[in-house]
Amino acid sequence: MGSFSEHSMNNHSSAAEKFIHNEDRVNWHDKALWFVREKRDVAASSVKGWEELRTLAAAIKAHTLSHLDEYLLQFEHEASANGARVHWAMNAEEHNEIVYNILRSRSTTLAVKSKSMLTEECGLNHFLERKGIEVVDTDLGERIVQLANEPPSHIVMPAIHKKREEIDELFHHHLNTERSGGNAEYLAREARKHLREKFLSAGAAMTGVNFAIAETGAVVVCTNEGNADMGVHAAPLHIACMGMEKIIPTTEHLGVFLRLLARSATGQPITAYTSFYRKPKPGCEMHIVIVDNGRSEQLARENFRSSLRCIRCGACMNTCPVYRRSGGYSYGFTIPGPIGSILSPGIDVKKYGSLPFASTLCGSCSDVCPVKIDIHAQLYAWRQIISTRHGASIGKRMIMSVAGIMFSHPALFRAAGIGGNFLQKVLPPVLINSAVRRWTKQRDLPEAPVQTFSQWYKKRKT
């Protein structure tokens, strides 16, 4: 590790500044995500034994990680016996080369792709485009951000940061739709027509993988839009790309995860489609690419390996007061929010060193996580590593920046009801005052929270 300064990294707080500049948008973003969080709560409380399910899910994943090599080899054996071709990629470059070579072998010029955070992580779209292959993302949210030339800002709701009027403009420009003032039904219908043309003319369909079952060699993909299946069944070639931690031992174990995933993600009892791809359809090819790309390094880190249990439900983002206020782009990493903030320093601690500080350590992420990752404890552990190596002053300055995000909007601050908890844990008053000054700029200082804090602080001293 070389020298470390705030300049050498993507600074979360300065990236957030762009987003929090627009108070209405922050307010709206915060509410939209909190609404999803509340739906999750209703869904979770309707299931008998929810906490037991979370415990089971955590234990199944912990077991699988402790035998990861065996399960991956078993999976490869079964999938090959089913007629799929299995490939292994050490890193993003190898993954992209493998996919490209498969596509080239069938002279593919157009590929459709359903949601896959892994291919985002590997930068696959741009790689293939440079090689002359058109890639069309077929999840509506992903198509929206693709047309806007942006990455997803959330792992389950990729366009959660976009207003309907912006989508209206984007579609008018790229798909020649009428201006509708942002009529969601009209825009979704137009996208449906546009994407159906692509599904029926694509030479290949790529998908992510939610779960890979070692026992049967099946890959399981969950969507609401039906876009993975529309692509895979129409094209002669299916390429499924998976991070190696997606493996689970048997179909019986899958039941536990399927009960947790959609409820944690959006409050639905299950996604509209849960598709089991086991054998290619007659006359067609199915390929599965298993990717490491830093996962085995994370597996070796005792304090952080449980982050590999993640099933990418997004619940920790929806509940995070910092994510809701600062937006997905402020993290500068493919996976934003609390889970991204414990995965990214393992990839590049210099670049992502500010992310573990982009948290109030309120613990809400760990409370909702369906696989019981102790996210806030890992955030704290990364902070200690970063502060020990590079001086406590960096940590302090970054904590102050988070305070700025929290204080940038007094209404949100009050609504979140986390002030006391947050302040008691992390902030001396001098930092709060200077953070508030730094972040509120032309805005008036939010009276209420500061007073509340001062009262609290006085009481505490006496």
């Binding site: 839009e225 299950i270 509209a272 490491d292």
Partner: protein
Amino acid sequence: MSRDPIIEKIRNAKPPDSSLPEIDVSRFSDESGKAETFIRNLESVGGRVVHISSRREISPQIAALFPDAKEIVSCVEGVDCGTIDTGKISSAKELEKLDLAIIEAHFGVAENGAVWVTDKNFFHRSIPFIAAHVVVVLQQEKIVENMHEACARLNEFHEGYGVFISGPSKTADIEQSLVIGAQGPLSLTVFLEY
């Protein structure tokens, strides 16, 4: 081929054995009526239920519910309201204008209103997705309580492809407004047979 180096790295990195837990399914059973729960959940995800007591009722019901459907495929034995020659179809492209598909489900799941269908239930895997409207025929006695029971049954199926379908396709990607009918069907109706 990076398989061996990856496996080697995992062997050096992985933690000591952590035991695989037993799943005691009885702890998750809540004894609510399976059919009512199925219906309630299916309706909550945008699906519709039609009760029938005999398969003979299916064709007339379909004529009444989908009066404008021209291209219809029936993959259910004894339901002969199909209008296109399925023997000739070999690609999804030929199904592009499909108005309605009728398929049979192996079983349903009460806790989420899902039905399980596989390669055995259709002659082309695109059928449950490309049709504008989908009708699924399900025997009421074949509803299981939850995904534990459902997944325990899946190894009876050795088909190359299977899917749990819970309601019609949907999206909320535009400002979280729910739109029924995304890239797949615009509606899903389950004909529940007593």
